[in-house]
Each structure stands twice: as structure tokens, then as C-alpha cells.
């Protein structure tokens, strides 16, 4: 009896199990296999998802070709001649276009050509040589604009696409990754930058660096090529969208970027300097030169002073100090703490406006 019971039990279980398994198999074969097909599987089965076509479609129409023309001074009746070539990104429906300053800096006339064939002549709203950015404006209906998200900073390793018009061969999309990000001195003292290995060449300047969603993450600039402007070595730079956007806002509001100036040159503190000047630590900035007509000279700062605090905050390094001074509105009174001959003193200074040196 016991054996029979066991047999029945086993047979029941097996039959029931087989039926359930059959049902399960039928159902899973009917349902699309979402959970099982990831990533690479789609490579084998058509590869439609593994393409940046969608991102390109979102952003590419808003990246325009920019031609800067200059009129021959000796022969002004001659037709305008092409002086500069670059790209630009349409940022808003009202026609503000971001590009590089060096693309348009010597232009007498600027022509912006959209991918749909429309051409506009454009005025310069404002330009900022320090960050190599310029804002142009065009008037047109149904302008394509680039999507962007200011709160989504690019990270090293992100896949990116560069859109521009290299060598004027027509709109070109190149792909790479973010190789580095940082706040480092490139040409201008304190510039935020993105580094990418996407191919960026002459003519790409002012064009878009987008992420795989098609959102703008930077403005490409071919001006800072390592080893000449031949490009192609996998080291190119872009200005991050957050910096570019804030500069754009300032250029639209004031026509220029107003930066504070102190009128000093400085160096970071090293061990030798700290010892000679008898400093408690290596924080602060050593003043190496003072502009005789600048705010620092008026306030009484002198070379060999060490600035340790600016507006009540510690000064960790030269770049940070220059950045904070630049962001102080001119005319503001600021207290600076310095160490002179071993003694800590406080100096009030009135920040002036930084004058861009003509290039």
C-alpha cells in the first residue's frame, strides 16, 4: 500500500509538473523575450537599437555651418571673401546661436547656414575671448533647437558625438568618449573643459558635443589642439554646457562678460616660499606682481604678500582665487586677509572690472 501511494504521488507530481512546464514554455515562447535579450543579443538580431541615429536626429538639425566673411580693405568693392569657417549651435527658438569667438572674431559679415538649406546673415550679440565663446542671433521661423540639460554634467567614459562641419565638407558626426574633465588652465587661466577622443577638426569649432540622448553637453573648440591644428590625434576639447550657457546669458544681458579684477599676479605657495616667508602652512597665494593702477595697488598690496582669505573664505590656490575675483561684481568692497612679514593683516579692496586685452 505504502509503495502504491508513493508511486501515485510520484506520478501525480511528474504529470502535473510536466503540464506546468509545458504551459510555461508555451507562454514564454509567445511573450517577447525582453528579459533574456539584452545588449549584445540585439547586435545579432538586427542591431537597430545599437545606433546613435536617434540622438543625431534630435540634435543635428540645430547645428549650423558658420561662414565669416571679411571685406578686403584695399579693394572694398571686391566681393566678400571667406575668412573663417566654423559651426554653431542654435540654443533657443528666438534664434540665439552659440559658437566660438575665434570663428567670428575677424568677420565683417557672418553667414549662418542651416541644415535645411536656409541661410541667414547674423549680428554678434556679444563675445568673450576668455572662454572663446560668442553669441550670434538670427531671425527665422521654426528654428530647430538643441535639447540640453544643465544639471547633467558629462563624466569621464561617457559616449559622446561631435557634430560640425570639418574642412567645410558638410555636416559630420563623429563618435568618441569623454577622456577627461576638469578645471585647468588651457589658454585663459581658468577654464572649465571637457576632453574627448571624438575627431574634431578645423571647422568643427563652435559645433555641438552631444550625449547619446542627443542632449548638448559642450561646445567643441578646435582652437586648443595638442600639436598644431591638424587634429586627428584623439585629443580635442569642448566647453561644458553649464559654463557655455552661463556665458551666453551674460552676453545676452550685457553684451559682454563682466568680470572682477584685482590687478595682481600670483603663484602658489611651495615649501621653499613657505619657509622663507615663515608661513604656518602652504595655503594661500603669493603675490608676485601688482598692477600699479589696479585695485590691489590702491589698497596697498605689495609683492611678497601672501593672500590667505578672500571675502572671509580661505584661498586654497591661484585658480580658485582668480575665479572668485572674476565672479565678484566690479565696485564691490572685499576684505582680504594677507600675511606680510609674518603678520596677519586685513586689507579692504574695491574690485574693478577686468578689461579684456585685445588680441
Amino acid at each position: 500500500m505504502n509503495l502504491k501511494d508513493t508511486c501515485i504521488y510520484i506520478v501525480k507530481a511528474v504529470v502535473f509538473g510536466l503540464i506546468m512546464a509545458a504551459i510555461f514554455l508555451v507562454i514564454t515562447s509567445i511573450l517577447p523575450n525582453h528579459s533574456l535579450n539584452t545588449g549584445l543579443s540585439s547586435v545579432h538580431s538586427g542591431g537597430a537599437e545599437l545606433s546613435f541615429a536617434k540622438a543625431v536626429r534630435r540634435a543635428a538639425p540645430a547645428v549650423a555651418n558658420i561662414y565669416s566673411l571679411s571685406i578686403d580693405q584695399r579693394n572694398p568693392l571686391n566681393a566678400s571673401s571667406l575668412q573663417g569657417l566654423g559651426s554653431g549651435v542654435i540654443m533657443s527658438k528666438d534664434g540665439y546661436v552659440l559658437t566660438n569667438y575665434h570663428v567670428i572674431k575677424k568677420a565683417d559679415e557672418i553667414v549662418i547656414a542651416l541644415q535645411d538649406g536656409r541661410k541667414f546673415t547674423s549680428e554678434v550679440v556679444g563675445s568673450d575671448p576668455v572662454t572663446d565663446l560668442a553669441v550670434l542671433k538670427i531671425e527665422g521661423d521654426n528654428l530647430p533647437i538643441v535639447p540640453f540639460n544643465l544639471n547633467n554634467p558629462a563624466q569621464v567614459g561617457d559616449v559622446v558625438l561631435a557634430i560640425g562641419n570639418p574642412y567645410n565638407i558638410g555636416q559630420t558626426i563623429t563618435q568618441g568618449i569623454i577622456s577627461a574633465t576638469g578645471r585647468n588652465g588651457l589658454s585663459s587661466g581658468y577654464l572649465d573643459f571637457l576632453q574627448t577622443d571624438a575627431a574634431i577638426n578645423a571647422g568643427n569649432s563652435g559645433g555641438a558635443l552631444i550625449d547619446t540622448n542627443g542632449e548638448l553637453i559642450g561646445i567643441n573648440t578646435a582652437a586648443f589642439q595638442v600639436g598644431g591644428d591638424n587634429g586627428g590625434n584623439g585629443i580635442s576639447f569642448a566647453i561644458p554646457i553649464k559654463l557655455a550657457h552661463s556665458i551666453m546669458d551674460k552676453l545676452i544681458t550685457h553684451g559682454r562678460v563682466i568680470r572682477g579684477a584685482l590687478g595682481i599676479s600670483g603663484e602658489p605657495i611651495n615649501q621653499v616660499v613657505a619657509q622663507i616667508l615663515n608661513l604656518p602652512d602652504m595655503k594661500g597665494v603669493l603675490v608676485t606682481g601688482v598692477d600699479p593702477d589696479g585695485p590691489a595697488a590702491r589698497a596697498g598690496l605689495a609683492p611678497r604678500d601672501v593672500i590667505t582669505q578672500y571675502n572671509g573664505e580661505d584661498v586654497p590656490g591661484v585658480e580658485m582665487l582668480l575665479d572668485r575675483i572674476a565672479e565678484t561684481p566690479p565696485g564691490t568692497r572685499m576684505d582680504m586677509v594677507i600675511i606680510r612679514e609674518g603678520k596677519t593683516q586685513t586689507f579692504p579692496v574695491i574690485i574693478a572690472e577686468k578689461i579684456n586685452e585685445p588680441e
Binding site: 533574456l36 543635428a60 570639418p166 575627431a199 586627428g232
Partner: protein, 449 residues
């Protein structure tokens, strides 16, 4: 209790049975921190044997005019030109498109002028290839080898690719050996570069260098989308701007070469220009892409099909046409007699027009009939003028100072752009005439007496 147990064992059995397919699907592990990491290796294992290296050797004949100062010393019997023969070697890549017949596609510029073509297969074999035919204007050549166990490349419709799709270049850069580089499709329908006579390139940022020419550009499935042909190289090497001839265009050309041993260029018989903003505005169009028909040649294929000046050609066989150059390249590579369907816009209305492409009549003339002093030169109509494609040594034409490659662009003070015009103009000139010649981008006059 028993029911519960039986349900439990049933569930276990269900699970164990249904686990089986799941395990088989996860055969290739490809995850880093939970994210899939694609590798091209499986695709490349199947594809790379279809890409070969092409090594050529031959003799380059260069002719140099003897400087006048030597003629002063050696008298009037001094030779007009010095013929130099220099052996050359070249390296490129090729793609096996038919494993049974041994057909290999490469660029014309890879094998141009070669006496010997050696194919290096992926498995190490080296086999001498025969040239079946070539087309200079599109830069495609077809070779054939006699070998077994070949792997051919997979085919696809290259009109389906999009800007932003991944692209993989396979070739033999700098003769290093087979090299795979990856990138994306940077642009489509690229023309107006002045690299080839007929241009309709796929542009890619996959690294392409010297020696990659004739190699494959494939998609992620390993299907051929183009033949790598050229790059923009301001400093000699790759800067992320490479060009490939679309696979569909290659197939059209190869089919003609197999059938006729040469490309019988299809001719539509229209001249035109790109549709641009101004034209679109003037014609009240909402599209900005297409080929604008300026003129329809009488009795041409276009004329017979009913195309008219002012029509805008926006598609060819259902594929959109972006520029006149793209239309030109596509039509010219389709082959004479091809039946095509154009989508056009006429007076604001969309229409379709069917046409059968005509054959290009190669205007080539024995130059002695044109002018006695041109005897010994072979003249051919070229886009810019009349090209001297061949010149017999010691012939009256050579004695007049004409050289191979010269382009006749004018006669006396009149501009001449066709052989027909040159003939007509010469008929009225019995005495000395001055030919305006373009040689190595320099303009010069040669007097025929």
C-alpha cells in the same frame, strides 16, 4: 500535505525545465557591473576572412620633356622626351564578394597600372589574381582568384544605413596586416569632394589609412555597407574623416563588369544643379533636398521618359535624392538599360516617372581627322575640356609639344569645351592656330603650324 508537496515538486520541475532555454541564451557573458558590454569579436570571426590584402607591382612609365638647353647642344635631332621606367609596388585591401567564383572587389586606384596582383588571404594563402574589369570614374575594380574554401562577405541593402549607425572598417593599413577599426557613419551621400568623378560616399570616423583602400566597411552584423576608398588627410594620416563607396553602388558596378567586362555607364540626359534655398523659394517648394533639372537633352532617356526642365528629382527607385551629384553618381553607376523610377516635383505636384537609362557614347576621336598636326594623339571629351589620353612618340602631335594628360580648353581666343566644338573651330582655321592647354594646372599656348 501531499498536494502541497506535489505542487512543490511540480514547481521545481517546471523551474528546472524552463531554466534550460535561459541558460542557452546567456552563452556569451558580456556584463560589467550589470551593464552589457558589446564586443565585436563574434561578428569579426565570421567577417574578417572575407577581407584580403592586395599587393601589386608594375612599371610606372613617366615621360619628361627634354629641356630646351639640351636641344641646343644636341641639335634638332635630339629626342623630344625622355622616357623613364620605374618599378613600383603598392598595397591595398580587397573584399571577397563571391566565394564560389572567387570575385574580389577593390579600388581601381589600388590596382591601376599593375602588371602583377597578388591576393593575401586571411588564412595565409597567397594567390595571383586576374583583373576582370575596372571603372576609373567610380574607382572600383573587380578581380578574380582561383581558390577553394573562400569566405564571402555578407550582403545588405546599404541604402538602409543611417547617420549614427556603428561602422567597422577592415583592411590592411600601412601593410601592417589585417586591422579592424570602429566608428560610426558620420554622413551619407557625400559628394563634391573632387576625389572621384562620381561621388556618393558614406563618411565614417572609423580610422582609415593608406592601405585600407579597397577594404570593407561593415555594419555590426558584419554585412558590407561600403568599400573604403579615401580620406581627408591634412597631415597624411587619418583625422576621423574617411569615405566609402556604398555597397549598393558597388554591386551595380560589379554586375556590369561581370556581364560586359566593363561599366556601361547609364545616361539620363539631363543637366542640373542642387536644389537650394533660393531655388526652393522661387518655385514655392517646402522641400530643400533634391536635384533640380536645368535642361533635358533632346532624344535622351530623360526626354523619352517625359522629364522636363524645371522638374525637381527627389527620389530614385524609392530612395530619396539629396543632391544633383548624388543623382548623377547613382544614375551613372546603374548601367545602361537599367529601368528606373524617379519621384519628381513638377509645378508643386508629386509625380513618378519611369525611365530606361541610355548608354553613354564615348566621344573619342582619332585626332588626325581633327587637324593634321594633331595626328598621333587620342582625344577624349572630359568635363573640363578635351583630354589627350594617348600620344604616339615621334608623331606630329608629339612634335608640336603636346603631352599625354594635356587638356585642350581653348583655340586662339575662343573657349572650347568639346571635341565637336574643336572640330568646327578648326575647320575655319587653315593657317597657324594656338591651342590653349591646361597642363598640371598651368595654362599655356601651343602653336600648331
Amino acid at each position: 500535505m501531499k498536494t502541497k508537496l506535489s505542487l512543490l515538486s511540480a514547481a521545481l520541475l517546471t523551474a528546472s525545465l524552463s531554466l534550460y532555454p535561459a541558460v542557452s541564451q546567456a552563452a556569451i557573458p558580456q556584463a560589467v557591473e550589470g551593464q552589457a558590454v558589446p564586443s565585436l569579436a563574434p561578428m569579426l570571426e565570421r567577417t574578417t576572412p572575407a577581407v584580403v590584402s592586395v599587393a601589386v607591382s608594375g612599371t610606372q612609365v613617366s615621360k619628361q620633356r627634354v629641356p630646351d638647353v639640351f636641344r641646343y647642344f644636341f641639335g634638332p635631332n635630339a629626342p623630344q622626351e625622355q622616357v623613364q621606367e620605374r618599378p613600383f609596388r603598392g598595397l591595398g585591401s580587397g573584399v571577397i564578394i563571391d566565394a564560389d567564383k572567387g570575385y574580389i572587389v577593390t579600388n581601381n586606384h589600388v590596382i591601376n597600372g599593375a602588371d602583377d596582383i597578388q591576393i593575401g588571404l586571411h588564412d595565409g594563402r597567397e594567390i595571383k589574381a586576374k583583373l576582370i574589369g575596372a571603372d576609373k570614374e567610380s574607382d572600383i575594380a573587380l578581380l578574380q582568384i582561383d581558390a577553394k574554401n573562400l569566405t564571402e562577405i555578407n550582403q545588405t541593402d546599404s541604402d538602409n544605413i543611417r547617420v549614427g549607425d556603428f561602422a567597422v572598417a577592415i583592411g590592411n593599413p600601412f601593410g601592417l596586416g589585417q586591422t579592424v577599426t570602429s566608428g560610426i557613419v558620420s554622413a551619407l551621400g557625400r559628394s563634391g569632394l573632387g576625389i572621384e568623378m562620381l561621388e556618393n560616399f558614406i563618411q565614417t570616423d572609423a580610422a582609415i589609412n593608406s592601405g585600407n583602400s579597397g577594404g570593407a566597411l561593415v555594419n555590426l552584423n558584419g554585412e558590407l555597407i561600403g568599400i573604403n576608398t579615401a580620406i581627408v588627410a591634412p597631415n597624411g594620416g587619418n583625422v576621423g574623416i574617411g569615405f566609402a563607396i556604398p555597397a549598393n553602388m558597388v554591386h551595380n558596378l560589379v554586375d556590369q563588369i561581370i556581364e560586359h567586362g566593363e561599366v556601361r555607364r547609364g545616361v539620363l540626359g539631363v543637366s542640373g544643379r542642387d536644389l537650394d534655398n533660393e531655388l526652393a523659394k522661387a518655385f514655392g517648394l517646402d522641400t530643400q533636398h533634391g536635384g533640380f533639372v536645368n535642361e533635358v537633352m533632346p532624344k535622351s532617356a530623360a526626354d523619352k521618359a517625359g522629364l522636363k526642365a524645371g522638374d525637381i528629382i527627389v527620389s530614385l527607385n524609392g530612395r530619396s535624392i539629396k543632391s544633383f551629384q548624388e543623382l548623377r553618381a547613382k544614375v551613372a553607376t546603374m548601367g545602361a538599360g537599367a529601368k528606373v523610377e524617379f519621384g519628381i516635383i513638377r509645378d508643386g505636384d508629386k509625380k513618378t516617372i519611369k525611365a530606361t537609362l541610355g548608354e553613354a557614347d564615348k566621344v573619342e576621336a582619332e585626332a588626325g581627322n581633327v587637324h593634321p598636326m594633331l595626328q598621333g594623339a587620342t582625344l577624349e571629351d572630359n568635363k573640363k575640356g578635351i583630354e589627350i589620353t594617348e600620344i604616339a612618340q615621334g608623331s606630329p602631335a608629339a612634335m608640336s609639344g603636346l603631352q599625354k594628360g594635356d587638356l585642350i580648353v581653348g583655340l586662339n581666343r575662343t573657349k572650347i569645351s568639346s571635341l565637336k566644338a574643336l572640330k568646327e573651330a578648326l575647320e575655319d582655321q587653315q593657317s597657324s592656330v594656338a591651342l590653349k592647354i591646361l597642363r598640371d594646372n598651368n595654362l599655356l599656348y601651343l602653336v600648331l603650324r
